[in-house]
C-alpha cells in the first residue's frame, strides 16, 4: 500500500469507483450547489441516476416527520409515483431509513418487507441507499430493476451510496433553509402580535394621576394594564398577569383585558367587577390557565381608591407620612373558582401613592442572585419617592433593568403626591366635533366648584371649546379619528387646562391672535382664548409628539 493511500481511509467497496463515477458525482454536486430550486434539480438528478445505474426506475423518498410517514418526492421511470406515501419503517424504503444502511434486494419475492407492486410497476430487484445527515437519515435514494435483467451488485451499491451523499447534503440544506424561513415567519407573526398587544394598552396621558408601564420578557406579554374615564369623573383601572409567557398567555391576556374593560365601564363595584369577569373566564378558559388581576376606581376629587384583588401580588400604598401599607389579595386568581365572590376595599390616597406591580418586579434577582421580593420593592419605592410619578416609573424600571429581568414586568402608579397641583378632571376622546358638547359639559362642571360666576364660566367653556375646535380643524385638519386629551388642574391660585393632541406639530409662531378691527369670518378662536384666559402657552410636549396648549385662568 502506498503512503498516499494509507492516509485516506478508503472503504473496500469504494476502491473500485472509476473515472465515470467521479464524473457524475462532480456533475451532481455542482448541479445541487448551483441550484436555487432543489425540487427541480432533484427531478433531473433521478433521471441521471436511473440512466447511470442502468435502472428501469429511480426515486427519492423523504421522511415527513409531521405525518409520520415517508413520501416520494421525485422519480424517473415508466410510472409516476411522486406523492406516494409509505408508513415509516415499512417497505424496503422504510427499512433503509430505519437501519440507515444500503439495502440490496435481489429478488423482491423473497423479501418479507416488500410491499408489492406500486401503481402497476413490478419491482423485481431493488437497491436503496439512505440519505444520511447529522440528524440521521432524512430519506432514501432508490433504483429499481436493472434494465438488462441483470442483478444489482456491490459496485452498484457503492455508486448509489456515493450519489446519495450530495443528494442528502442538498436536501438537508433546503430543509434547514425552509426551517429558517419558517422561524422568520413566526418571528414576524410574534412581532405583529406584540404591536397588536401594545395597541390594547392605553396611551400615556400627560398630567394624569395614573402612570403605568409594561416590559414584556419576550415579544409578547402575558401582563396587561388599562385605565379609562367614567362619566362620573372617576378613573377605572386594572392591572393583570396571565399565567405563562407564550402565545396562549398572550391570547388569554387579550381576552381578560377586554373582559375587564367591558365590565368596568359600567362602574360596577370592584368586588362585583372581578366576580363577573371571574365567572366569564372560569366558564371558558382552558383548565390550568388563570389570570391574576386588580381592578378598581380612583376618584381624583376625593382621592379615594376602591379596589379588589384576585391573586395579584400585594399592592404597596405609600402614604403622605411616608409609612407603607401592604394590601394583600382577598381572593384567588380569576378563572379557577367560577362562583367565588370577591370583595371591595376602600382607602384614601390622601397625598400618597399606590404602587401595583406584577411578580416580574418582585422576582427580579439582585446582586446576591436572590429575588428582591417585597422588601426590595419597598426599598426601591423609598429611593424614588422624591421624584414626579413619571420619573419614578422611569427610575424604577431603570433599576430593575440593571438586574436580571426574567418575567414580564408591569408597573402601575396611582399618584396623589405628584405635584402641588390637584387633578380636577379630564376627558380624552377622538377629534370628532360631535364631542365638543361633552367637552363643554365637562369643563362647565369642573369649573363650577371653583367659584366663577355664570358669565365667567361660560367664557371659560367657550375658550376651551375654541381650543379643541382648533385642534380638530387645524392640527388634525378635520380628521375625526385623532386623539385629544384635556386635563384640568388646580394650582394654588389658578385653574390650568392642558390640551394635548397627537397630530403633526404645529409651528407655535403661527398661533397668534389676529387684529379684531378687520371684519372677516375665520381666525377668531385664538382671540377668544386670548381674551378669556390670563395666560396661554402653545408648545411641543416633552415626549416630542403632537402639541400641547396650556391655558391658565386665575381663580376669582
Amino acid at each position: 500500500m502506498s503512503a498516499a493511500a494509507a492516509l485516506i481511509p478508503v472503504r473496500t467497496g469504494l476502491a473500485r469507483i472509476g473515472p465515470e463515477e467521479v464524473g457524475i458525482l462532480a456533475d451532481f454536486s455542482q448541479a445541487f450547489a448551483a441550484s436555487l430550486d432543489v425540487g427541480e434539480t432533484l427531478r433531473k438528478a433521478v433521471v441521471q441516476i436511473a440512466d447511470h445505474m442502468n435502472a428501469e426506475a429511480a426515486a427519492v423518498f423523504l421522511t415527513d416527520p409531521q405525518a409520520g410517514d415517508i413520501v416520494c418526492r421525485a422519480c424517473a421511470g415508466p410510472v409516476d409515483v411522486v406523492g406516494l406515501r409509505v408508513q415509516a419503517g415499512r417497505g424496503i424504503v422504510g427499512r433503509t431509513i430505519a437501519e440507515n444502511r444500503v439495502q440490496m434486494v435481489r429478488d423482491t419475492r423473497n423479501d418479507p418487507d416488500y410491499l408489492g407492486d406500486q401503481r402497476g410497476f413490478q419491482s423485481r430487484s431493488i437497491l436503496c441507499a439512505p440519505l444520511d445527515t447529522a440528524d440521521g437519515a432524512i430519506g432514501a435514494l432508490q433504483v429499481l430493476n436493472k434494465r438488462d435483467g441483470a442483478l444489482f451488485d456491490t459496485h452498484d451499491a457503492n455508486v448509489l451510496r456515493l450519489l446519495a451523499v450530495p443528494t442528502a447534503l442538498a436536501l438537508n440544506n433546503a430543509r434547514l433553509m425552509r426551517e429558517l424561513v419558517e422561524q422568520n415567519r413566526i418571528k414576524r407573526e410574534f412581532q405583529l402580535a406584540r404591536q397588536m398587544q401594545k395597541t390594547l394598552l392605553p396611551a400615556r396621558r400627560h398630567n394624569f394621576p395614573i402612570t403605568a408601564l409594561n416590559l414584556p420578557a419576550r415579544e409578547i406579554s402575558g401582563d396587561f394594564f388599562d385605565f379609562f374615564d367614567l362619566p362620573d369623573g372617576r378613573i377605572a383601572f386594572c392591572i393583570g398577569d396571565v399565567a405563562g409567557k407564550g402565545m396562549d398567555a398572550a391570547l388569554l391576556m387579550v381576552r381578560a383585558s377586554s373582559c375587564l374593560r367591558w365590565v368596568g365601564k359600567d362602574g360596577t363595584a370592584p368586588g362585583e367587577w372581578l366576580s363577573k369577569v371571574n365567572r366569564e373566564l372560569a366558564s371558558t378558559v382552558t383548565r390550568g390557565m388563570f389570570v391574576c388581576a386588580v381592578a378598581g376606581y380612583y376618584d381624583p376629587h376625593t382621592s379615594m381608591i376602591e379596589l379588589a384583588n384576585a391573586g395579584f401580588p400585594p399592592l404597596l400604598l405609600r402614604r403622605g407620612d411616608q409609612t407603607m401599607r401592604e394590601l394583600r389579595a382577598d381572593g384567588p386568581p380569576l378563572g379557577i373558582l367560577g362562583d367565588f365572590g370577591y370583595s371591595s376595599e376602600s382607602m384614601a390616597l390622601a397625598g400618597g401613592c399606590l404602587y401595583a406591580f406584577s411578580d416580574g418586579v418582585t422576582d427580579v434577582r439582585g446582586a446576591d442572585r436572590k429575588p428582591i421580593g417585597m422588601e426590595g420593592v419597598r426599598q426601591l419605592i423609598d429611593r424614588v419617592s422624591g421624584l414626579s410619578p413619571r420619573a419614578r416609573v422611569r427610575a424604577m424600571v431603570g433599576t430593575l433593568r440593571k438586574m436580571s429581568l426574567a418575567d414580564d414586568t408591569t408597573l402601575m402608579l396611582i399618584a396623589d403626591d405628584g405635584a402641588a397641583s390637584r387633578y380636577l378632571g379630564g376627558l380624552a376622546g377622538s377629534s370628532d366635533p360631535e364631542n365638543l358638547r361633552l367637552v363643554r359639559r365637562k369643563v362647565s362642571e369642573v369649573v363650577k366648584q371653583l367659584g366663577f360666576n355664570d358669565e365667567q364660566r361660560q367664557r371659560i367653556v367657550l375658550a376651551i371649546d375654541e381650543a379643541v375646535a382648533n385642534v380638530i380643524r387645524h392640527a388634525y385638519q378635520g380628521c375625526y379619528d385623532g386623539r385629544v386629551e384635556l386635563s384640568v388642574w388646580l394650582d394654588h391660585d389658578a385653574v390650568r387646562f392642558e390640551l394635548r393632541d397627537y397630530a403633526q406639530p404645529v409651528d407655535p409662531a403661527k398661533i397668534k391672535p389676529r387684529d379684531l378691527s378687520e371684519c372677516r369670518p375665520g381666525g377668531l378662536g385664538i382671540n377668544l382664548i386670548d381674551s378669556v384666559m390670563d395666560r396661554w402657552v402653545f408648545q411641543r410636549p416633552e415626549d416630542g409628539t403632537g402639541n400641547l396648549l396650556t391655558m391658565i385662568k386665575r381663580l376669582p
Partner: protein, 111 residues
C-alpha cells in the same frame, strides 16, 4: 331651551327669517353657514333669529360674519334679531356687537 340643533327659514313681514336653535359649534356650523347663504340668495332682507341659541362658538360667528359681508354691496339687509344672552356675550367678546345690525325683535328690524 331645547337640546336639538336646528335651523328653519320662514318669510315674515317681508323678511326672510332664519330661526336657529340649539348649540352652534363646529359639529354643525357648516349647516348654518349654508342656510345663511341660501337665504341670502333669494331674500332682500335676511334676519337671523338667535333667541333659541344657548351657545355659539367662533365657527358659528364666522357663518354670521360671512353672511353679513355677502349682503353688503348688494343692497341687501342682514340683521340679527332677539340675540340671546350667551350669543351676545360672545359677540361682545369678539367685538362684533357693534358690527352687526342687532334688533330686539323682527318688528324693530323692519322699521
Amino acid at each position: 331651551m331645547s337640546d336639538v340643533n336646528d335651523c328653519s327659514t320662514v318669510d315674515q313681514l317681508g323678511v326672510r327669517l332664519l330661526r336657529v336653535r340649539g348649540e352652534v359649534d363646529l359639529s354643525w356650523s357648516q349647516k348654518l353657514r349654508k342656510a345663511v347663504l341660501e337665504a341670502l340668495a333669494t331674500g332682500r332682507h335676511v334676519a337671523i333669529d338667535l333667541s333659541q341659541v344657548s351657545y355659539i362658538d367662533s365657527s358659528g360667528i364666522a357663518a354670521l360674519v360671512e353672511g353679513f359681508q355677502n349682503s353688503r354691496g348688494k343692497s341687501q339687509r342682514f340683521s340679527l334679531v332677539a340675540v340671546s344672552k350667551p350669543v351676545h356675550a360672545v359677540l361682545e367678546l369678539a367685538r362684533l356687537d357693534r358690527v352687526f345690525p342687532i334688533f330686539a325683535t323682527l318688528e324693530d328690524a323692519v322699521k
